[in-house]
Symmetry: C2
Subunit: 214 residues, 2 copies
């Protein structure tokens, strides 16, 4: 009987789990080490022991999750038959990953709002030069192949794909009101549906202008 406890039996991980959830939901200044300790069912003093304090815990939490994203996040985007297919897969994979790591969107967005992402500049750069760059390259490839119209800046196009996805994840309740008129938040399925729409919308926008005779 080696391990009586469930999967994350390491105290540090339990703390990070609780911290991540609270930081994402209330922000760094909006929650206290006591609340984090209580949520983790752990003595609040352990935040100092393991991470050197509240801010160290924050950094550790955000880095852990962002590294997971950089590592496994967008890997199933690679083997697409066409640029169009790759864009569809990107939107799908992005939403899928965020639904599996539901704290990340708010956690990351708050970091951008509160500190211009200074606590995680490396990781944000890794994302910018990783998945986002990959998306730009997909657009460029489509343009080179003649499948996408050439007069659209690839970075702008990529941001036109990414930003709606970020918006619905981060402002989920408001997006729900805007999309459905109802007060209920968006279901996971509605989110996936919107991701599919976003890909379709972008592909239609990128479709080459067909001349009558061509």
């Amino acid at each position: 009987m080696p391990r009586p406890l469930p999967s994350p039996d390491r105290t540090a991980d339990v703390i990070l789990d609780a911290a991540e959830a609270l930081f994402a939901e209330r922000g760094f200044d909006g929650c206290t080490v006591k609340q984090i300790g209580a949520a983790a069912r752990v003595n609040p003093a352990l935040l100092s022991y393991y991470f050197g304090g509240k801010e160290g815990t924050y950094r550790a939490a955000i880095r852990r999750r962002l590294q997971a994203f950089a590592a496994e996040g967008m890997q199933d985007m690679g083997d697409a038959a066409s640029p169009g297919e790759a864009i569809r897969r990107f939107a799908e994979a992005y939403i899928r990953f965020m639904l599996r790591h539901p704290t990340l969107p708010k956690l990351l967005f708050r970091e951008v709002l509160d500190h211009d992402a200074e606590h995680a500049v490396e990781e944000v750069r890794a994302i910018a030069s990783g998945p986002f760059q990959a998306l730009c390259d997909v657009v460029r490839a489509g343009q080179a192949r003649g499948e996408f119209r050439p007069d659209v800046d690839p970075a702008r196009a990529a941001l036109s794909i990414l930003s709606p996805l970020v918006y619905v994840l981060v402002a989920r309740p408001v997006a729900g009101i805007l999309l459905t008129g109802r007060r209920r938040g968006l279901t996971d399925d509605a989110l996936r549906g919107f991701a599919a729409h976003t890909a379709d919308f972008a592909l239609a926008a990128l479709a080459p202008v067909r001349r009558p005779g061509a």
Copy 2:
């Protein structure tokens, strides 16, 4: 010589100006009444006197700005010759208003993140049923006229137009990195340029599919 002081000589307004800026930049929990008082060059105790406390000041600040948006925000969108033209004007007018009221994007977005917009439900509803609804109607009108493809949900299309604009305003430094690769934030002109792209992108996406023979 009735008034030696500049335009907003009323103390309450001066307080709201400072509060708005600080709440937008650091969030409700990220700044103190003392900081607000110092920024307004006013005694911090006056926040309680005028607004009943920190939270009352917050509500007053957010309401004041949102009402300005509801009132004057999108008024120059009305007289457009075509739905396409109306969409272009919407994107332009939205960015123009936000550049004139630079605290509003972050202020509003933080309210959504922190409290699901519960402190300003009425105002958010007013925006949802005002400018956003107007944008949906424009898409619908274009579809009725046969100028836009009919198989796109108007609300989704509207959100595909609105969310990139929100994103670049709220995450300006990161959007700058993604769009230019450089560390500098986006200039106002770059912001307006992206708004034009957003309108173009949406219009291309909404263009009816041309059949060879039609």
